[in-house]
């Protein structure tokens, strides 16, 4: 068998290569024994022009982390939507899924405009500081779905196979299975079993996007993907195009099988902005006439999303942020909603966070979890720290390192040690040395700040049996506490901890009579102990 090395083979190789790169970077989003992650594991977000555009619009400032997105813009200006066809891991996943689930329908081309409508709503609402990109960006959906749902489930599946063998099977079987398990652990498996809130929801969104493939080839990319829409608009200026610009009159080879349905049925002209340069039509062409070459953009088909739809999208883009801002939740304090160390002030944090899940993936204690409705639907999938599940390691700075947009600032070790996530509060009605007069101070033992924030006093108390006993009772020095939550995590009481970290962050406009909005935003509410 000979394999002809065609342009299509080339594209497939690229797809495999970038998908592998994506998985590799995903796996490398992990503590490696070094305090710094030496690779740009978040590059797929940092070169995403949609992420860059929304963050730029929402923060009205330039985030240098997102500079690589210019490279994708440049690539698109030259080659069109080659990113969608050759690079995007979501697109590749859909191509491969399509091979298995055989798209049966041919959706109407008018659905195409939905992605432009979505893009319009996302861009306009981001200008008014409602960040919706995380719900629709393909990488956010992909990474979140894998991090929060599929990856932990994969670990459970594998460990659920090997662990019972280890525990119950005869020794000689586990002697065979354990080396395999070790190899898997060192290669494809995450370091340990993690647990996430919203695991089913996150994975279901990803699975739904893949399942849409049943409705038509690349259904998501053609009709819904807002990043695809943005690249489509940019690609109208691109200079590398299919030639000839129409499908041949009587030949049924390329137009009907086009995965992006890019040929206009009436004029037979190719909608260049829909073409993702998969090269199928080049390789399948019986006349060998179809090819891609450098061409100046000529008169082309207009993107027709309809004036009414466009205006409607614009109104939605303005109304949604307004509705969000009159949500009373923005006026309420959220004492148990702890943001990651280095998180910007709440308004800026909301503008920058693209809900990618990278911070949750890298969190060494599995402490960062996705929000559900705690901060409105607008905050869904933003990270929060749940100390009872996992605390924040004092010397760890990984979440700030992997955040692609700077929603979580990258902190040095020294800055991290002084960064205040919240302040711990004792509940003496439950705390053992107070409530039960029994010795404990596990919290004091674990308190990691240098000069412990939790101290104890030696007291003599009469216990419930009427006996006088010497005891150590803990207390907190708030100025020293950074809210890492190890005390809450290690408290040996069942159920609620007797010490709880509460947020010290202010809501967006707690005091209407002081700082103006823009001022209070600049003076971001990050507090440091000096």
């Amino acid at each position: 068998m000979t394999v002809k090395f065609t342009l299509r083979t080339c594209r497939k190789l690229f797809q495999v290569l970038f998908f592998f790169l994506f998985l590799l970077l995903f796996r490398l989003t992990e503590y490696s024994g070094l305090d710094e992650i030496p690779y740009a594991v978040n590059i797929f977000f940092r070169w995403d022009p949609l992420v860059a555009a929304t963050v730029l619009l929402a923060t009205k400032s330039f985030v240098s982390l997102l500079l690589p997105s210019l490279a994708i813009i440049a690539l698109t200006i030259i080659f069109g939507r080659i990113f969608c066809g050759w690079i995007c891991p979501m697109g590749s996943l859909l191509d491969w899924a399509g091979k298995l689930i055989h798209p049966s329908l041919r959706p109407t081309p008018s659905l195409r405009s939905v992605k432009y409508i979505l893009l319009t709503i996302i861009l306009i609402s981001s200008f008014f500081e409602l960040q919706l990109v995380g719900f629709f960006d393909p990488f956010s959906i992909l990474v979140r779905g894998i991090t929060i749902g599929l990856d932990p489930a994969f670990y459970l599946l594998v460990s659920g196979f090997f662990d019972p063998i280890y525990s119950y099977a005869p020794q000689w079987i586990s002697n065979l299975s354990e080396p395999i398990y070790t190899v898997l652990k060192d290669s494809v498996l995450p370091y340990k079993q993690s647990f996430f809130l919203l695991s089913t929801l996150s994975a279901s969104i990803l699975i739904a996007v893949v399942a849409m493939e049943k409705l038509g080839k690349r259904f998501w990319c053609r009709n819904l993907c807002p990043l695809g829409a943005l690249l489509a608009i940019v690609s109208r200026f691109s200079i590398f195009r299919r030639f000839p610009g129409r499908s041949c009159r009587d030949c049924q080879h390329c137009a009907p099988s086009c995965r992006m349905d890019a040929f206009d049925p009436e004029s037979r002209r190719i909608r260049h902005e829909e073409c993702n340069l998969c090269m199928d039509c080049v390789d399948n062409c019986v006349n060998q006439s179809s090819r891609f070459r450098f061409l100046l953009p000529d008169k082309q088909l207009q993107i027709n999303i309809g004036r009414r739809a466009f205006i409607g999208a614009g109104i939605a883009g303005i109304t949604l942020p307004l509705l969000s801002q009159v949500n009373a939740g923005t006026r309420l304090p959220h004492p148990t909603l702890l943001r990651p160390p280095g998180a910007a002030g709440e308004a800026e944090f909301f503008s920058k966070c693209v809900r990618c899940g990278e911070c949750m993936k890298v969190c060494i204690q599995n402490a960062l979890q996705p929000c559900f409705m705690e901060s409105g639907y607008e905050g869904m999938f933003t990270p929060k720290l749940i100390p009872r599940l996992g605390y924040c390691e004092l010397n760890c700075t990984l979440c700030g390192q992997v955040c692609p947009t700077g929603a979580i600032n990258k902190l040095s070790q020294q800055e991290k040690k002084n960064f205040v996530i919240g302040i711990a509060v004792f509940n003496n009605a439950r705390c053992l040395p107070f409530a039960d007069h029994s010795p404990c101070i596990v919290c004091e033992e674990h308190c990691p700040t240098n000069d412990k924030a939790i101290k104890f006093k030696e007291v003599t108390v009469i216990n419930s049996q009427g006996k006088s006993i010497d005891l150590q009772q803990p207390y907190l020095i708030p100025e020293l506490c950074v809210g890492c939550g190890i005390c809450e995590n290690k408290c040996p009481l069942p159920g609620h901890s007797a010490i709880q970290v509460l947020s010290t962050r202010t809501t967006s406009e707690e005091d209407e009579y002081g700082l103006s909005k823009s001022l209070s935003k600049q003076k971001s509410q990050i507090t440091f102990h000096v």
């Binding site: 503590y31 024994g33 662990d163 280890y166 525990s167 119950y168 099977a169 005869p170 020794q171 370091y191 060494i364 204690q365 390691e393 004092l394 010397n395 760890c396 053992l432 029994s438 010795p439 404990c440 101070i441 596990v442 004091e444 033992e445 674990h446 990691p448 700040t449 240098n450 000069d451 412990k452 104890f456 150590q472 290690k490 408290c491 040996p492």
Partner: protein, 304 residues
């Protein structure tokens, strides 16, 4: 005989043949009878490899403890995400010296592990212990993270306050168990030394141990009895223990002490902090249970 019977139960339980949990029936008096005369050796020196081997000389050298073909467990304190100079974990060079001696004595395998308090990878790396052992590049050395599947529930039949807890299988089954704690301050226990280091090989909610710490530690130490205790006092943590963090709390002594008697080792190490052995509750309770000798006058103390 009883210990062998107990180990048999451990083996049977862990291979899944029998579901009855191992029962530890040995009384403390029997343990005391097992104990050798409390000889204790103390040394000072800058070269820790030389220091460890010279401190072991009066005890008969490492060969008195490690027999050729033994599976040895070396149990340092790797509990915290701290650097060696911060004195929260056993010094990596002390660990290395002990592991090297055990291998030279013919150990088949030397396992080094601890159930950490901070994240295990950060502790193993930043304590310097995993890097130094990995650099030795010997297949006999296994510096691995604790495997959750290896904790075995043990009924401590003669325990006074603890009657059941889970223990790490490898620690129970070791032919030779060498405990190498670091000497440091601790809020609740005042000091954490050899007896408390045993908490690194137990499972469960360890916070609960704190309720009656001294008796609980003594009960745990009836099951895990160190054949040799080497206390790292090359630098000791005087305040803000057990994890410290500031070099201001650290005092450099360049001392190491060793004894086959875990209580004697703890008792002597207490004096390095300017305290009397009686001031440490866990030492007192352990001595009362017959786990060892705490009277400094009744020990054969050798300075090297």
């Amino acid at each position: 005989m009883d210990r062998r019977n107990f180990l048999k139960q451990v083996a049977v339980f862990s291979s899944g043949i029998l579901l009855a949990e191992p029962v530890f029936r040995i009384t403390p008096d029997l343990l005391a009878a097992e104990a050798v005369s409390p000889i204790l050796s103390v040394g000072t020196g800058k070269d820790y490899a030389v220091l460890v081997s010279s401190v072991l000389q009066p005890l008969g050298g490492i060969a008195a403890f490690v027999k050729p073909g033994d599976h040895v467990v070396v149990k340092p304190n790797i509990g915290w995400d701290r650097r060696p100079e911060q004195a929260a974990n056993t010094h990596p060079e002390i660990v290395k010296a002990v592991v090297e001696l055990a291998i030279m004595a013919g150990a088949k395998t030397v396992q080094v592990f601890d159930r950490t308090c901070n994240e295990e990878r950060r502790c193993y790396m930043n304590s310097g212990i995993k890097p130094i052992l990995d650099a030795m590049d010997s297949r006999k050395i296994q510096c691995q993270y604790v495997d959750k599947r290896k904790f075995i529930p043990v009924t401590i039949d003669k325990g006074i306050s603890l009657n059941k807890w889970s223990f790490y299988k490898d620690a129970l089954q070791a032919d030779c168990y060498i405990n190498i704690p670091v000497a440091k301050h601790h809020g609740l226990a005042r000091l954490t030394l050899g007896l408390k280091n045993t908490m690194g090989v137990i499972g469960g909610n360890r916070g609960k141990i704190h309720g009656n710490m001294s008796q609980n530690l003594a009960d745990l130490n009836t099951v895990i009895r160190a054949d040799l205790t080497i206390i790292d006092a090359t630098r000791i943590l005087l305040r803000n223990g057990p994890q410290g963090g500031s070099l201001k709390d650290v005092k450099i002594l360049d001392k190491v002490l060793a004894s086959p008697d875990p209580v004697a080792a703890d008792a002597y190490a207490t004096t390095l902090f300017g305290l009397k052995p009686e001031q440490i509750e866990s030492t007192k309770v352990a001595a009362k249970m017959g786990l060892g000798e705490m009277d400094l006058n009744k020990m054969d103390i050798r300075m090297v």
